[in-house]
Symmetry: C2
Subunit: 277 residues, 2 copies
């Protein structure tokens, strides 16, 4: 039950309708008797740079989860950024320190890599194609680079966005080969849709599934439905797949630690979750 | 359960620890299956004029409940103010219209007058002494003036605050006699503590209880405890009394209507409330 002593975790993005985090964090807080709640706040793009610093002045706010379309903007509003934020140019978790400085980190990619590992697939030495180089795509790129992939392919419908992410990866992770410009999955052993395609009925496929190697590991960031048409098609080809919700569950323990809450496991979070998918 | 589709009612004030509204509104929303929640937000005084307009730009915000220390500031941030706001110079409820304009009203006083009426006491023709001319005191003064009292006495430790409220009352309600400057309750048949005195152990009495007429109706705005030492002393003198929580419960149906929710009764709200006092 929310009261005047409850610590707020703002969930920032717009629109908020498809937010899933409150349905996982809040039942977990309740199950542990922790007086904290995740509260969605549908902040408009143009208001966000003014709103975020004021929000963090609230006395009962502990932190913020950040999602589309604010992840890239957030990276530019921090007083202190983690390596994953610097590489990805994107931030999905913010807290303040005792002096009120805004500290940011990026856990999307960590969730993706943890999820792969739990399925028995180590990204180290692999070749990963990421289609969509916005907030979540760049977070996955940063985490895969830090996890030791040999090569990363980047594609975005806005070519310059993929190029800029490629430049940051080359600067921070010189040992990883970076290729930009194509969304052809042939020859890649990790293939990831990091675009919003799949959120709405009738969306086109983010890439040509018929050219994915059946031995590839195929991942997805869209969480609107349990299995997107893209993942279903990849699974039919024989690929091992990872749904968007896996990435979500695997990253939450990292978030909770960042905000200063007691440790949690992703299994524990799944058990209490009120998610319908 | 809060989700991405939940309508937020911000509860604005600082500190938030003693907020009671979430423990009444939220169980009522749940009992009715209404996807809305009151969320306390501890906004600092210096941030408030910037924060309020940005907060009302959030796509999933329906309105705000405003409490100390922001009620007077809020009155100056509105695009449209009710008569009670204009008289009291104070606002405790804000919503936006379809065009994004901020509309404000003030229900503290209405709650007080409704509570009196339910106890069988009509304020019309009476003489009311209000000690404390800040947000809540001025709201009660406006509602009593609109309910037809003959005379209002105003006292505040900041004499100019009482004077300014007196001026506004004289302007908007010329039929009501206004006296300012004394907190002596002798001769008044409605006596109200509208100061924060009673929130903390060891607070002095807001006025000399031994001089209250035993036939007087004595009210209180402090809600930290069920019965403050002030009310207990008045009750011992034989006075009919009204606790702060009565004012709270009686005003909530007015708030809910203002925000566009279905009608509620104060009895229904009391039944579902999670308040311990």
């Amino acid at each position: 039950m929310i009261s005047g002593t409850t610590s707020l975790i703002a969930h920032l993005g717009v629109p908020t309708d498809s937010f899933r985090a409150p349905l996982i964090y809040n039942p977990w807080f309740e199950s542990r008797g922790i007086d904290a709640r995740v509260v969605p706040m549908g902040c408009e793009i143009e208001d966000y740079p003014s709103f975020l610093p004021l929000l963090f002045r609230l006395r009962n706010l502990t932190g913020a989860l950040v999602t589309m379309p604010h992840k890239v903007t957030t990276a530019g509003l921090l007083d202190e950024a983690s390596p994953a934020v610097l590489i990805s140019g994107s931030c999905n978790a913010v807290r303040r320190d005792a002096g009120g400085r805004l500290i940011g980190d990026m856990f999307d990619g960590e969730g993706f890599v943890r999820g792969m590992l739990r399925k028995g697939r180590d990204a180290a030495g692999g070749r990963a194609l990421i289609v969509g180089a916005g907030g979540v795509g760049s977070g996955i790129a940063a985490a895969l680079a830090q996890a030791g992939v040999a090569e990363i392919g980047l594609h975005d419908s806005r070519a310059s966005v993929a190029e800029q992410l490629g430049e940051r990866l080359r600067r921070h992770c010189p040992g990883v080969g970076i290729i930009t410009g194509s969304n052809d999955p042939e020859g890649w052993d990790i293939v990831i849709n990091a675009t919003p395609l799949g959120m709405n009925p009738g969306d086109p496929m983010p890439l040509d599934v018929s050219r994915i190697d059946p031995a590839a590991f195929v991942g997805e960031v869209v969480m609107k439905q349990a299995e997107t048409p893209f993942l279903a098609a990849a699974r039919e080809r024989g690929c091992m797949t990872q749904i968007g919700a896996d990435m979500l569950f695997e990253q939450i323990p990292a978030y909770l630690e960042f905000f200063g809450f007691p440790p949690a496991t992703s299994d524990e979070l799944r058990q209490v979750s009120q998610l319908s998918c």
